[in-house]
Symmetry: C2
């Protein structure tokens, strides 16, 4: 399968994130993508291509325009105040507060669109995030054009970013952008399957009231795991979307058997839905040695995951999400893709 990649991801290199009351070095760093690049290149899955450049309108199909306008100019607004350090939010609109008015002050605008203070905004964040979405859109175009699969090596990740918020290291929801692009190019039904350790709260929020894009997520139980405020089993969609959202919150430390039970149920639901295309939010922080997560997947499980995705027999775009065991992230991603390629032959 073709791999889409750009070294512009390095433009986003945060310094510190807020973690347990202190500023600590960022877990989400450029080396992550470099390790994935090296691993997929070494295995020779296929050509590694630069993304095409798409109009920002494709992003605004799933994100609020005022949010994207803000991301575009955020660094200029911030640095115009004389700051050279990364921006981190410090105040946000809690219950009973207003979100209809975008404040004039940077701190107000920034807080309005934020949901955590672990996601620094840097001079190159928008350029990297826009390119990340272009990578996802390029992969979608390739698969929409008839190829069986493609891998969008996007960074920063995207699945925590919602209609008008950033957080969880995510600014633009690459998976949602790709899923929407499938719809806009003729697919009637699209599935986003999120196998990252963390619930895809951004993707769920984007598609929650829609029946044309089904979202399924297997993740650590939000009662104990980030992002804490979404991802429970009783979130099944709203309005037209009722029945098209499925969460599998699993206890931290869950066995691989339990994890594959959830995947089996997801596969059954996906087959029933009869989608025209599949987007995989491919986080590998499910890895047994991941420093911030608590599942137990390793090479055999990643190969098996890839094979089970292949068995869905759908045009498939893989999109990189989380994974913080930096040295191993490349191998873990490569094993999923290898399992897919072997089974899809």
């Amino acid at each position: 399968m073709k791999i889409i990649y750009s070294d512009r991801h390095r433009l986003h290199a945060g310094d510190k994130e807020m973690y347990r009351g202190q500023l600590v070095p960022c877990f989400e760093k450029p080396e992550r993508a470099d390790f994935v690049y090296d691993a997929v290149k070494a295995r020779n899955f296929g050509p590694i291509l630069e993304p095409k450049e798409f109009a920002v309108a494709a992003i605004e199909r799933v994100h609020a325009p005022r949010y994207i306008r803000f991301l575009e100019k955020a660094w200029d607004l911030w640095s115009a105040q004389g700051y050279t350090n990364d921006a981190l939010p410090a105040v946000w609109p809690v219950r009973g507060h207003r979100t209809d008015i975008e404040p004039d002050h940077f701190a107000g605008k920034f807080g309005l669109y934020s949901y955590d203070s672990g996601t620094p905004f840097t001079a190159g964040t928008w350029a990297a995030a826009k390119t990340g979405a272009d990578i996802a859109l390029t992969a979608q175009q390739i698969v929409g054009g008839g190829e069986r699969a493609a891998f969008a090596l996007s960074r920063p990740p995207g699945h925590h970013s919602g209609p008008d918020f950033f957080g969880g290291y995510c600014f633009v929801n690459n998976a949602a952008v790709a899923a929407q692009a499938f719809r806009d190019n003729g697919a009637k039904r699209v599935v986003v399957l999120d196998v990252d350790y963390h619930h895809g709260n951004g993707t769920q929020t984007i598609f929650y009231d829609r029946s044309d894009v089904m979202f399924l997520s297997i993740h650590g139980d939000p009662r104990t795991e980030y992002p804490f405020f979404l991802g429970h089993a009783d979130e099944t969609g709203s309005g037209e979307g009722l029945g098209y959202n499925k969460n599998y919150p699993l206890p931290a430390g869950s066995s691989n058997a339990l994890w594959f039970d959830a995947l089996g149920d997801a596969v059954r639901r996906i087959n029933e839905f009869k989608p025209d295309a599949l987007v995989i939010s491919l986080g590998v922080d499910t890895f047994a040695d991941d420093p911030i997560s608590k599942f137990q997947l390793r090479e055999p499980e990643y190969l098996k995951l890839g094979a089970q995705i292949a068995a869905l027999n759908l045009p498939t775009v893989f999109i990189l999400e989380g994974g913080y065991a930096v040295a191993e992230i490349g191998h873990n991603v490569a094993h999923v893709l290898q399992g897919f390629e072997d089974a899809a032959k």
Copy 2:
């Protein structure tokens, strides 16, 4: 007038707050209350009394019990994880996220109830905040018992704390607790007048749908000033509370003439409402030399403010809120009380 004070406020002494992307020393520090104590003692306004201890039920008349249960045990939960530094929130429930489930993990609980990362939670925060509310309740009891006025020298401040959230250096809304205590002890109508530089978003949120407690606030325009997401002129109350909330957002840098125009309108509305009691959220970050605010009040204006409050001729509880020009905060507070005392004679 009697002054209620306890040195237990010193139990809350945060180390660092998040400000402009960095952790900086806290603006809200114990010296603030010490300077106020020294100034009111020097002027001999009246006896300085220790607060009585009240049941926490008095606080839960305006705060959600699950929020108070969390504050009570927050430090134990945090320190049980091995942390000795202050806690600061790092993730919160944005639009589309759930607040009905309190997560099991400390970071989730803490984020659920937070709205900024400038408000460190320390080992002594709950003890200090509980005592701050006891101070407000003691002052209310004295005034409810027949005295013309009392000054609750509470710290930490309270007006940014809402039904179930902390932020803006505030954990328990002392002014709201006092106003509710007036109601619970026979007053039919109570006014909270907030003259702090910052909008009293917590107090507004607590009383927004009620007609028995009128809330009025003169403050820097939230388009450019903290807390950014509440305090606009079109917020006039909801349901039964419609018409009982009045905001005077003034541009940063506003003249004193403009400020007193707003106060004049507030006085007119308060007189029309015919309340039985008055609570003043007395912030003096309206001071011309305040380091984080942008109004221009000085001694003559503080004397005049005190006199105009006295002219309302109501049983009055003053409650300390903000003010960050630490060395001058005592004089500024004392001038308001002096203006009141001189006019009330």
